[in-house]
């Protein structure tokens, strides 16, 4: 059995996919890894199609040409939305595109593990499986924070917090596959910070012109909580002229707006857990996802949580690929006959 598994593994391609609201990543068993912003766009009309020269655009390409496109962000709020056939189609296109990036050999079986938001309802998991299964031999869905934990071998007495754009996913690992009550999703995530920042900047600089996309870039380049050295200045047009704006306080306030709900959720989840292990979990909190890159976030959480007991907060080294890498590792370690069972 083991020999068969080894042979099958040799000929197969294993991929781990992290389907995110803001960006999606893929890692394969040949150590290739790619990421793309989770945008899919179709030309609005035949003129746009002719100018763009492609039937469908992805990621930054789509964003750059968004005025000529019907653009979709298929996993907004971390779920596959209902009500539009384009939503399902955009997920399928995104998956197809991600798999094409790793250039699988023709006819090679592809085994995929896809990370989805922790509290994704069954219907969403099913929809994602459906969207992926057109392009792979077999597919498994797991929760994103679980995939991160698997990548890091943090399978016991740890809490993973995956801070994405649409959701913050919390997951307590305790030596078994996390059950529903071990996972929690809140929506005060990256997009929430963007909206807060947009509101704060609009109030402070009513004469300046900027959009949500610009605000998102300001955040991605400058996000922080706590204190930093020196002011954060960005250039924003005022009546057409690029003008320097000091946005230090607004960035700080917007980024700090996610701390309170995070602390509340962490405490609530830990308090419900077996008291014997609570302190171990508290001293093993790991931040993942794009939001983990907010400067000072780990220290801020540690400082607030210290009132409840000794706390250690660390962050993953490679937030862009940690989830996809864990998913790929899981795909590789999944026995062949398990994959066969899924295909039966």
């Amino acid at each position: 059995m083991q020999q068969q598994d080894a042979q099958a593994q040799k000929n197969s391609l294993f991929v781990g996919i992290d389907l995110g609201t803001s960006s999606s990543a893929i890692v394969d068993s040949n150590r290739k890894k790619y990421w793309v912003e989770s945008y899919v766009g179709w030309p609005k009309d035949f003129i746009a199609a002719k100018v763009l020269g492609k039937p469908v655009l992805f990621g930054s390409d789509a964003l750059k040409n968004r005025l000529s496109l019907d653009i979709f962000r298929p996993l907004e709020h971390g779920v596959l939305k209902e009500g539009s056939s384009k939503e399902g189609e955009s997920v399928r296109e995104l998956i197809r595109y991600l798999i094409s990036l790793v250039k699988p050999e023709k006819d090679a079986p592809i085994y995929a593990v896809v990370g989805v938001p922790a509290e994704s309802f069954k219907v969403n998991k099913k929809a994602i499986i459906k969207a992926v299964s057109d392009y792979v031999t077999a597919v498994i869905v797991v929760s994103e924070p679980f995939a991160v934990a698997y990548a890091m071998d943090l399978l016991n007495n740890a809490m993973i917090i995956d801070i994405g754009a649409g959701t913050v996913d919390f997951c307590i690992m305790h030596g078994t596959l996390p059950a529903e009550e071990d996972q929690r999703t809140i929506l005060t995530a990256g997009d929430y910070i963007d909206n807060q920042l947009f509101k704060l900047l609009s109030e402070k600089f009513p004469a300046s012109t900027f959009n949500l996309n610009m605000v998102r870039q300001f955040k991605e380049q400058n996000s922080f909580v706590g204190n930093i050295k020196g002011p954060i200045k960005v250039e924003i047009p005022v009546t057409g002229k690029l003008t320097e704006h000091d946005i230090t306080i607004e960035i700080k306030r917007a980024c700090e707006s996610i701390i309170a709900p995070m602390v509340e959720t962490i405490n609530e989840m830990i308090a419900k857990f077996d008291p014997e292990y609570q302190s171990q979990i508290r001293s093993n909190i790991v931040l993942a996802g794009g939001g983990s890159q907010i400067r000072g976030l780990g220290e801020a959480l540690k400082s607030v949580l210290k009132d409840f007991g000794s706390t250690q907060v660390k962050k993953v080294d490679d937030p862009m690929f940690a989830g996809a890498a864990g998913a790929m590792k899981l795909a590789q370690e999944m026995p062949k006959h398990y994959w066969d069972k899924l295909n039966a």
């Binding site: 078994t176 596959l177 077996d274 999944m334």
Partner: protein, 357 residues
Amino acid sequence: MNRENYLLAGWTMQRIKNRMLKDILEENLYINGKAKKKPQANRHRARFFKGVALFVALILFSVYKNSDFGDFRTLPALPLAQYMTLPSAQPPKVPLLLKNEEIVANYDEYQPFLSQRGIPLRSLFGLKVRTIVIDPGHGGEDPGTSGQSGTREKDITLDIAKRLLQRLSHYDGYHILLTRSEDETLSLESRIAFANSQNADLYISIHVNNIPNKPYSIIETYYFGPNSDRSALLLAEKENSGTQYTVSDFKVMVQKISNTLKYQEAKVLARSIQKSLFDNIHRSNDNILDYGVKKAPFIVLLGVDMPSILTEVTCLSDREEEKKLNSEVYREDIARYMEEGIIQYLHIKNNPIKSEV
């Protein structure tokens, strides 16, 4: 770490991984519809919570034995089946939280109750529930409350009720009915008469709240009873509007309840639904508050012969909630949360009797 410890740690990690991989397979087979039973939750954790549940139950029981609960509470607020150990009775058909020998009850207290007519005793004893009536609040010319974008309570309650009916219909042995299945005007009396004529065992009325000028939403669930809370009385006044009952009718109805225990059951049902709604909705909305289970004199709860509750599932005054209520996913979720609460009340959560997953 010495070599033995290192090997032991590696061996333990491999065992954990093997178990997880198996669980992942089972979960995915379940999602794909290739396995009927959802994988069991962590046993270690389940044991812990079972222990806590037993401990809490014992505390509650001890509090009950030493307290006076007031006019409406001749029994502690736990499912009656747990307390019923009539000498000749067969073993209850629902699982008991407490063992029989731990249950002490004064049977004389039940005599007035047992002699009552028109009360579905099987339900009150927690033995069987057959017919569940779901009542979508308002309808037709009565739109109920509405949100700032024009979302109407009557449409939301009807949609959630239909979804709940669909979900509960998957369980064998239950007869699920709606008081209305379309946008029609229906008086409270008609709703009550319908539920009574069907010999329903449970009555669940669905509503959506409106609390203007508040930057949050609330979830609350009611069962019939006197209440000094002004806001609850105001809400009851609003929901009771349009009744044709006279004061004497009302008195007769009030007398009817004086010696019955259906309200005990209603309270347990209300708690279960409230808990499921709040616990689940709160996960994705920090801005929603748990207003808990309350007593209020709603006509519709008083008139029906069976345990009955009225739940305000969320608030249309909250823009975000209104937006979410316009998505099918959210309305389905609310129905799912209500289903969970009802099933937990019925003590069949873990029995694999659902015919379709």
